[in-house]
Each structure stands twice: as C-alpha cells, then as structure tokens.
Amino acid sequence: MSSKTALHAKHLEAGAKMVDFFGWEMPISYGSQIEEHHAVRQDAGMFDVSHMTIVDVTGEQAQPYLRYLLANDVAKLQDKGKALYSGMLNEAGGVVDDLIVYHFDATNYRLVVNSATREKDMNWLLSKAEGFAVTITEKPDFAMLAVQGPGAKDKAANLFSEAQKEAVAGMKPFYGVQAEDLFIATTGYTGEAGYEIMVPVARAAQFWQELLNAGVKPCGLGARDTLRLEAGMNLYGQDMDETISPLAANMGWTITWEPAERNFVGRQALETLKAQGTDKLVGLVMKEKGVLRAGQKIKTDNGEGVITSGTFSPTLGHAIAMARIPAGTPATVEVEMRKKWVTVDVVKPCFVRNGKSAL
C-alpha cells in the first residue's frame, strides 16, 4: 500500500500523472515536464516534497551528537536559522544519506532527510544517539512545498501574514525561520531563488490552491530531476550511496576536517581514502544530438567510469550528465551510447545557475 501526501487530491485535480516513488504516490508531471522546468527557470513553480522526512533533534547534547553524526560541522552554525548541507556517513566513509540541518540553538536542530531512505535514516539516527542526551522526533504533521524560481518569493509572499513577511524580509540563502504556523526556508533543489515551506497538514491543500491562484505552476518529479541536475546537485541513490564516499561524489566541500580532534562517523576511513586518492564526480556536456543517460559506460586514459545521472537539459538545449571517473583531469572522455563511442566534454558539475548557463 503506497503512502499519499496531504496534497494527493490536489495533484489529481491538476491532472497529474502519478508514479510510485519509494512507496509514495507522487506526481511525475502534470502534462509537459519541459514546460514545468521552464516555469521554474523563468518564473515560479511548486513541488510537493511532503514525502521528505522532517526530524527534530533537541536536548542538552544535540550539538555534540550532530558533530559526531555528520561529516560537516554544525559548530560552524552561529546564526539562528542557518542551514548546513552534509553527508551522514557510515564507518567505511560511504554516504548513508545527505541532508539539510537547520540550527536554532545548540540544543535545538531540525533535519530534512530523503524519503527513499526514511526508515534506514531513522534507525541510523537512533543507533548513533546512544550515549547522547538527545531527543529525536519525527514530524509527520507537516506537508512540505518547494516554491522555486525568480518570481517564487514574490508570489509566495501573497500568502504570508505581516509577521511572516517580516520574518523572511532580507533572509539570505540557506536560512530557515518558524513564523507563526509556517516554517519558511530559503533552500531548494533547483539552482533558483525561492522557498521550501513546511505547512501544517490541515492547511496544506488550501496553501497549494492559493499558490496556484498566485500563478505558481505545479511541477512534478520529472522537472525536479532535470532542474537539480542542471544545478549540479546530487541525487541520493544515483550519484552517491553507501558504497561511495563524499570525496568521490563532489561532496568534498561538505567535509569539515578541522578541528582534527572532532571525531565523526567515517572520519578515519575518509582520511585513508583521501590519502589514497579516489574517483571523482565530474560534469559532462554533449552538444550533438542524443541524450546522456545514467548507466552509460565511460572510457578515460586512466580507466573506466560511469554516468550516474544524465538528461537532456531543457535550459541549455543539449545533453548534460554527472559521471564518476578515475582521478585525473581529462578534457574529454568517451561515452558508450547506443553501441557507439562518442567523445564528450568534461566540465565542473554545475550547468545552470539562476536561469543562466554556468558553462
């Protein structure tokens, strides 16, 4: 039996094609995936991300617990509401999940973790909490909507009370604030400005309808995937998993090595991997006809690799991909496409930012 979000009926009302997404019945698109993609790049689109898991971590030792649990260091967070992206690693240095953590104070944090790994993550969070004075609480009473695009903030503001408008005024990227009944964060998965908003379940459908009335276009998982890939953002289970270290997933920047005495899960293994050298995740661009796809094989002078995510980029009008290849800095690699080997360019894995080509 699949789970449904609080917005399920609204998706059907909007003509969504629904698919199974790790046990959740979610919209893949409402018609044209490419039109939804362009709506986010050019104006404003919204995604139901209620299937993601919200977890509050509170208590006297919330900070030391998270400093042990995560490869990035929550002690770097000083401002109330500041968010941090981090991998949660296993002892072998593989990624159990990637997540966002919001800091309210040293005894009060909120995590947002992937839906695909909900049960595994909860078990992991609880098992690592042993010996720490922390309380770990899932928050299933919220729906979550991402409103993204250059026009997203203005349109969303139509729904905010005066107090909520005041709370988000001048809020920089990667912050979150609880304002009356809404938790409003300047985070996202598209490379555009906008909000991720946690809404009490009882208000979710009405909130969706009001965004629709404000001119925000409903967007499905299909557009969400092409947008995040253009923005060079990893997808858990595809670009990294428990067998891949953050060093081999373009997540080196999320590992905080200093202070050296901070022991976090996976640290020892990461230090060894770093000394040995690892594969790396790069971007690929192909301007000829055809589409790069996940799973396609790659040949480089230093050995073989594989495409982890690939798509047609609606913004750029050609194929883009992320690929894991052996260490080295080749300008081009060979990709096996439909039984032919094609030469494609290697770039940094970030293709589009704020509506414009980053190439």
Partner: protein, 129 residues
C-alpha cells in the same frame, strides 16, 4: 484511455500507418507511445531513399525519459521524412497522428498493410502490456 483512430493500422511496437494511395504510407508513433515516452527532445529519422524492411530499427524517438527505437512497419523505400521534427520534436507529443508524423514509405507490396493491427487489435495489445 488513449486516442486510437480507426482509419489507421498499427504495429504492436506502437507505430501507426496511414495509406495515402499509390502504395505510399505515412508512419508515426501512437498517442499511447508518445505518452509513455513523455516530452520528445530529438527524433532521429532515416534518410529519404533508404530501403527498409519490416522490423528494421529505422528511427529513434528520444524523450527526456528514454530513447526508443522506431521500427519500419512495412518493407519499401523511405520517400519523405518530416523535417519539421528537427526543430520541433514536440510535435510528436502535441499531434502524434498529424503534424508529428515521422516518415513516408513507398511499400514494395501495398497488401502488406493488411497484416498490421486494426484499431481494435492495437487497443487489445496495449491492454495486454
């Protein structure tokens, strides 16, 4: 329920065929097929003049989701291709039985079309998938 015009013939691999007279047949992919594939981004067509045999993979319909082979539903010669698809592959989505046609074949044996499915048969083959 997808649209399956009764004046066309179909291959189980989702191509449709429209008799234009004089042994010439227009070929495209069905509404059901374009719906499965989603937004089309490239259509790789054969060249006019190509000799094709029934079942040959002669074209590729590539969408945001997947690349899918298109098979020749009849044996003959490709006499025209839909050049509008070069710049507007989305015509396959918006008008699969009209402006989204792929190519025209001059059949070696125009009677071969009788071996293809009718609308009812195609509907049944979709239902079995």
């Amino acid at each position: 329920m997808s649209n399956i015009p009764s004046d066309l013939r179909y291959a189980a691999t989702h191509e449709w065929v429209r008799p234009e007279g004089d042994g010439v047949f227009t070929v495209g992919i069905s509404e059901h097929a374009q719906d499965l594939l989603g937004d089309m981004v490239f259509v790789d067509l054969p060249d006019a003049g190509d000799k094709v045999s029934t079942g040959d993979d002669v074209a590729v319909a590539e969408s945001v989701k997947a690349a899918s082979d298109v098979y020749a539903p009849l044996t003959g010669e490709v006499i025209a291709i839909n050049e509008d698809l070069e710049d507007s592959p989305e015509l396959v989505n918006s008008d699969p039985y009209g402006d989204g046609w792929l190519f025209k074949i001059k059949a070696d044996d125009p009677e071969e079309v009788e071996g293809l499915l009718n609308a009812e048969g195609y509907q049944a083959s979709i239902d079995e998938e």
